[in-house]
């Protein structure tokens, strides 16, 4: 028989237990509700951050110059590594890292350390095989160049964190990079992720874009091949070659030599600079075209006016001015074609300093061209900035291209204005911006900066420069069946130590356009301090121009004007 008192005690006991449960439930679900929700979220939710792959850089026809791919980087979680010395012994020879360096990372108090970033597939495979606790692989992206060193100075480089540090990579870093994507994911007890369709990116989130350059891969390849050959033969210090479309201002090829290995430029990042853009040089005789333009426009001379070239030696204000060949009376046309310094000196004496100054500035000298690449130099120009500006010989010297510093891009752009019937165009290097799926987002269009000379004067200059190639100093630039116009240049380099022009160091150049009568392309070739073969622009630079021009004409299937082709055309049309 149950005694009522014992029954009551049991009931009381059960009631207490029940009340404890109820109190605990209240505590968990009401008082500590937020705390437990936070704990649950911590276990269940995780952030996944994705760095978008950097955009591609393509040529004008869609060929890839640069793209990003995923690579493995080796990382460690020091607190998880149990036998650190054993792991150290295994990893050090594999990754080629110093034991002391690895030791300092393993024994640090940090949760996560990089051991070696962006390792080779061979190293990654070995790490996977070792299967060491606390050491693993993390995916990162790296830039790859399917064309090797093609367009080295223009494309630029990125640092280890994929930020642009030179060239196009730097100038358009914002477009190429895109923004980080953060997504909230669920995570089960086994650590598997569950998609929750929740992304946390900024409303202004931008995806990486692809850039299409104005560069033509085929023309670039031809230019690199021809320039490199002569650069190696002449053992020049530097070489530059640019090709520009005359009517649009688009740069079709840009070659600079030398190029540097990764070890070299990592030790000295200044090697990444683009000589065609930020190095200034005295152009020499290639600059004679511009005082000629001024003189013709201002009617200070005519192409047939005669100049006494003093048989190759002229003393002026204590300075001896020499010509490459001894000549007597020459027409102005011949002065330019034979590149007479004496003839240009005498022309220089007629020029108005201020008006000439403005004229040269109109051609773009003395200011950046606005091509959109980093660290573009404005050149050294200005009557106040030149070391000779106070001297009476300054203006005559300027007429044969000494006493002024120009960049390669300024010079070719100015020559293109002569080829383009007097219109100066803005040089362009980026043609289009596309999204990751190839949709067009932005496209460039030709920009006329200003008219710098009349069409009539442009035509006269074209004819004179054609004479320079036909029978003047630029005969090595001739191509059979095509009409070529151009000017050679051989400038002495100014020695900053002795404060004199060097007798042994020169800049050899040639700048020209083709095919006449309607030029489409301008090419500029420069060799800095060629040691072998010759230092004359007509001998070293002009043949390179001819071979590159021939390559371009073949690419565009422009037939030469020979007797045979004229005959064939008439036969075909009949």
């Amino acid at each position: 028989m149950f005694k009522p008192k014992r029954l009551f005690l049991c009931f009381l006991f059960l009631l207490c237990v029940f009340l404890i449960f109820v109190f605990r439930l209240f505590q968990v679900q009401l008082f500590k509700h937020k705390f437990f929700v936070r704990q649950a979220k911590k276990q269940y939710l995780c952030f996944e951050r994705k760095e978008p792959l950097r955009g591609m850089i393509l040529d004008r026809n869609g060929s890839i110059f640069v793209l990003s791919k995923e690579v493995d980087s080796c990382a460690a979680w020091p607190r998880i590594i149990k036998n650190k010395n054993y792991v150290l012994k295994k990893l050090s020879p594999l990754l080629g890292l110093d034991k002391d360096e690895l030791k300092s990372k393993f024994f640090s108090s940090r949760l996560f350390v990089w051991l070696k970033r962006k390792i080779s597939p061979f190293e990654a495979e070995k790490i996977k095989k070792f299967n060491l606790a606390g050491v693993g692989l993390v995916k990162e992206s790296q830039r790859f160049f399917p064309e090797g060193n093609l367009l080295w100075h223009i494309l630029g480089k990125v640092n280890i964190d994929n930020y642009g540090i030179a060239g196009i990579e730097l100038a358009y870093d914002d477009l190429l990079r895109g923004s980080q994507v953060t997504e909230l994911k669920g995570r089960d007890a086994q650590g598997r992720k569950i998609d929750l369709e929740i992304s946390l990116q900024d409303k202004k989130e931008k995806k990486a874009k692809n850039l299409v350059l104005t560069i033509d891969k085929t023309i670039q390849h031809i230019a690199e091949r021809e320039l490199t050959k002569v650069y190696q033969e002449t053992k020049a210090k530097k070489a530059i070659l640019l090709v520009q479309d005359v009517t649009t201002g688009e740069i079709l090829a840009w070659v600079c030599r030398p190029v540097y290995s990764e070890e070299e430029w990592k030790k000295n990042p200044l090697l990444l600079s683009n000589p065609g853009l930020n190095e200034v040089f005295e152009p020499g005789s290639t600059f004679k075209v511009f005082p000629a333009v001024f003189a013709l426009e201002e009617k200070l001379t005519t192409p047939e006016e005669r100049y006494n070239c003093e048989n190759g030696l002229f003393e002026f204000q204590g300075m001896k001015i020499r010509d490459p060949e001894k000549r007597g009376l020459l027409t102005f046309r011949e002065v330019l074609s034979y590149s007479s310094n004496i003839g240009m000196t005498k022309l220089g004496l007629r020029l108005n300093k201020e008006r000439f100054n403005q004229y040269i500035r109109n051609f773009g000298f003395g200011s950046p061209t606005g091509i959109g690449l980093p660290e573009e130099s404005p050149g050294i120009f200005g009557f106040q900035r030149s070391p000779f500006s106070g001297s009476p010989v300054f203006l005559p010297m300027l007429c044969f291209g000494q006493g002024i510093g120009v960049t390669a891009i300024q010079l070719i752009n100015a020559y293109s204005a002569i080829a383009n019937k007097g219109l100066l165009m803005e040089p362009q290097i980026v043609k289009e911006v596309r999204d990751g799926k190839g949709n067009l987002l932005w496209s460039s269009s030709p920009v006329v900066i200003r008219r710098v000379l009349s069409e009539k004067t442009a035509r006269i200059l074209q004819e004179i420069l054609e004479d320079a190639v036909e029978w003047g100093t630029g005969t090595e630039a001739k191509i059979k069946g095509y009409r070529i116009a151009g000017k050679t240049g051989t400038a002495q380099k100014f020695d900053l130590v002795s404060r004199k022009y060097s007798q042994t160091k020169h800049i050899a150049s040639f700048c020209g356009f083709f095919p006449l009568p309607n030029p489409r392309w301008t090419i500029l070739v420069i060799f800095d301090e060629p040691e072998k073969l010759s230092y004359w622009g007509g001998i070293v630079a002009a043949p390179v121009f001819a071979r590159v021009a021939e390559g371009i004409l073949n690419c565009y299937k422009i037939l030469p004007e020979t007797e045979e082709t004229k005959y064939a055309k008439t036969k075909k049309s009949s």
């Binding site: 792959l53 060929s63 890839i64 793209l67 990003s68 791919k69 995923e70 790859f144 399917p146 064309e147 090797g148 093609l150 994911k185 669920g186 598997r192 992720k193 569950i194 998609d195 929750l196 369709e197 891969k217 085929t218 390849h221 091949r225 191509i479 059979k480 069946g481 021939e550 073949n554 037939l559 030469p560 020979t562 045979e564 082709t565 064939a568 036969k571 075909k572």
Partner: protein
């Protein structure tokens, strides 16, 4: 009558509750699948990039020129132009 109504609503609620639980389970299952497919898409995109890189390498003019010269024994195009006239 009242008892029958009670049983009916009880079973209805039970079925609705089951349906709700089933939905939640489906969401999680689909979440797993989406995550797997996303990984699959990423792998395919990476493979695509690798193939595009290989295309770039193999269509590189330097590589083509080397093959043309060494394997096919070709020489650079000359400036001679050959025009084939139509037959009279």
């Amino acid at each position: 009558m009242k008892r029958r109504k009670f049983i009916f609503y009880f079973f209805l609620s039970f079925i609705l509750l089951l349906f709700y639980v089933w939905q939640q389970i489906q969401v999680v299952r689909l979440g797993y699948k989406i995550e797997l497919w996303q990984k699959e898409i990423e792998n395919l995109e990476e493979k695509n990039r690798h193939l595009r890189f290989r295309i770039g390498e193999l269509s590189s003019l330097k590589y083509i020129e080397r093959i043309a010269r060494k394997k096919l024994l070709m020489k650079p195009a000359s400036s001679e132009v050959v025009i084939i006239l139509p037959e009279p």
